[in-house]
Symmetry: C2
Subunit: 424 residues, 2 copies
């Protein structure tokens, strides 16, 4: 990485001329290379860390992103004065870009070619690669914006290299070149069981005259999230139950072919499953959430419970902590995941009170907190966020802390290298 002088502004930009190349289906990758590349001028006093976050639901992981940016102390919002339909979230330290912005075919184009947005042919991986690489090298880019309401590709926006760049969407680990750029990758895996339960509830809700927020009282928070995401996704096609069903069915083969296999490349997978605390649970309200962490990943020490490397199940509710039915159960142990050695931490059930949360946190190790109770503090600060009472919120927060830790390790290493190569 070339290091030049740091300007007063901290970042050098040359020009913003941008050639948006929307390749038709089947265009060769070499043609994509005609894309203008910005000169490499890195004047940052940090090395941009790139995180990939993959999941089915497009770019609906805003809670995860808000938890992540909160760990760094900033508040995330859309780019100032930019495209009002921007999918980007920017905070002091973190920029989250939505990979839907790299659709090479708009909705019309996809319909014409009979392919879904999950199909790699509807996405421009050359541009994705070029721009993520540029940002990682400290160079700003001008990125297209996909408007989820109109389904069209709109006027582009400037993205400056942040300290932490999160690329979230359907394909962050699909292209080997993009994957290679990732310092850390996460796959959010909502099990088909949970999806199905939620889907049934969504169908029920949609049959009501209006989809009001008061539903949140009777539905689980997770369901509500799902519902709102679906509502947004379905806005394009109308709300009918039939169209939802059709859409789900249509997505399944592409999902299995292009999205799901990415999880084998993830450094961490968060699995959302039905609870095992209630026999034959079919409400789907209580979740069992597993964090699968790859071993041997640089800058990443997997979280463990009590005794590293052993297998443990733990029901913290007992004499010192009392929980209501069905309580909480944790599990920790080594496993293999797509022939990789992994460690798994699992939380089944919900936290009802602060005591339960801090008690669980105090027995987790390698969580990269800076002070005792930092996870609990983060969870309380955002108690209104979805999943704050279960493993989804806790593991999202843990991932945030691990990314902060990884960022700091990378900066420290870069600083020590620089000190060696350029002595005073």
């Amino acid at each position: 990485m070339a290091i030049s002088k740091v300007s007063a502004l901290g970042i050098h930009h040359e020009s913003f001329s941008f050639h948006m190349v929307l390749r038709p289906v089947g265009i060769s990758a070499s043609e994509g290379k005609s894309l203008r590349k910005f000169p490499v001028i890195s004047a940052l006093d940090w090395r941009t860390v790139v995180i990939g976050l993959a999941a089915d639901s497009g770019c609906g992981k805003s809670t995860f992103m808000r938890r992540l940016t909160s760990v760094f102390g900033g508040v995330a919002g859309p780019p100032k004065g930019g495209n009002p339909d921007s999918n980007t979230l920017i905070s002091d330290t973190t920029t989250v870009i939505c990979l839907d912005d790299y659709h090479s075919l708009d909705r019309h184009g996809r319909k014409e070619n009979g392919i879904t947005a999950l199909d790699p042919r509807a996405n421009n991986f050359d541009l994705m690669y070029e721009q993520v690489k540029s940002l990682k090298e400290g160079v700003s880019v001008v990125k297209p914006v996909y408007n989820h309401v109109t389904g069209r590709i709109e006027s582009p926006e400037l993205i400056e290299p942040p300290k932490i760049l999160v690329i979230e969407g359907l394909h962050p680990m699909y292209d080997p070149r993009v994957r290679e750029l990732l310092d850390f990758s996460i796959y959010l895996d909502i099990s088909s069981d949970v999806k199905f339960e939620w889907k049934s509830q969504v169908s029920l809700s949609l049959s009501l005259p209006s989809l009001s927020l008061s539903l949140s009282l009777s539905l689980s928070r997770s369901l509500l999230l799902w519902l709102l995401v679906w509502q947004r996704d379905m806005a394009e096609r109308g709300h009918s139950l039939e169209s939802i069903k059709a859409s789900i069915a249509a997505r399944k083969p592409d999902f299995d072919t292009y999205i799901d296999p990415q999880k084998q490349h993830a450094d961490a997978v968060i699995e959302v499953l039905p609870t095992q605390l209630i026999l034959d649970d079919n409400e789907g309200k209580i979740l069992r959430v597993r964090m699968v962490m790859k071993e041997g990943v640089k800058y990443f020490d997997p979280v463990y419970l009590f005794d590293e490397g052993s297998t443990i199940s733990w029901i913290p509710c007992g004499r010192k902590l009392t929980c209501s039915y069905p309580g909480i159960k944790l599990f920790y142990g080594p496993d293999t995941y797509y022939s990789s050695e992994v460690s798994v931490v699992e939380i089944d059930g919900e936290f009802e009170k602060l005591e339960e949360l801090i008690y669980v946190e105090s027995h987790l190790n390698n969580i990269s907190t800076k002070f005792y109770g930092e996870i609990t503090q983060q969870m309380l600060r955002h108690a209104d966020y979805l999943g704050s009472n279960n493993g989804t919120g806790l593991f999202q927060t843990v991932i945030g802390l691990k990314i902060r830790d990884l960022f700091e390790q990378i900066q420290a290493e870069a600083a020590s290298k620089q000190a060696i190569t350029s002595p005073k």
Copy 2:
């Protein structure tokens, strides 16, 4: 407790005249009070702590006793120059007396009355109470000796008050007066499943021409212990398989009526069960051993694993520790036992190597060791004792440490009381 001057010898004895009263079946308890009581002259610089150890197999718990005395640093042996058939074991700190010595009916008498040794009517609880009480008050007693070979009550022996008095046998917690004298009580509970497995193996062994020690190579060590105890018990009646079966059948009702119910009074119960690591195990070689510890017992803090009051299962074999099949599994959790609140620690499986033992020890809490690895050191010192590779040996050692701790707490409390009542 009256405290008089401590003589150079440490103990005052008055006289050894002894009236052995063997009451026939049905004699009233009040008549038993005619027994001579030694005057209370306590000149000891300690308060004798009394431990009760109950189990089915009479006084065959010598391994347990040797582990216990080893914790205190002494070597146990029969009283010097006493009855060669004495059942007593004496070390520097500990005296173990066998409650069979309080049989009021000898073998002939029992046969005549058609009752077993398990029947309370064959035992003199008045004398047991008087003598245990005297010893606890620092007064020596002259105690009868039951000869297990001849089945007769023989010339008595002198028992001086030790620091720790262990009364072991069939009925240490049967009589409420004796029970009240106990500072701590343990019930050794060998499950009928394990007994049955062992019994079958014993039958097999006994059908062989000779019962040699070389059998120990093919049989488990626990089985060998059982075999030797049975061999001794059966010596009286001949070795035939039929007589063993008959004896087992004959004991069962009395065992269930008089022995088994004592466990509800025990402060700690050690349960020996078949392994659950091997599906449908029917070899009975690998044991699952549980230590059930009553909550709220003075001077006794139950052992726990990782997190006091919660429920945990732990398989230590993993990345840091590798174990052969079927490995080791531990469990810890709160429970109720005969409507008492208890904590349970369970070890299923065997230790193959020192690393496994020290690893397990290092994760047990409240074990009352004086230095890191004391349990492992004790277990290694007596690696040739039965059960050194499984939970029986480990829990026996733990109980030894807990008794040492209890002894020291009681002495400290007695010393502080004395300091208050008799200032210089």
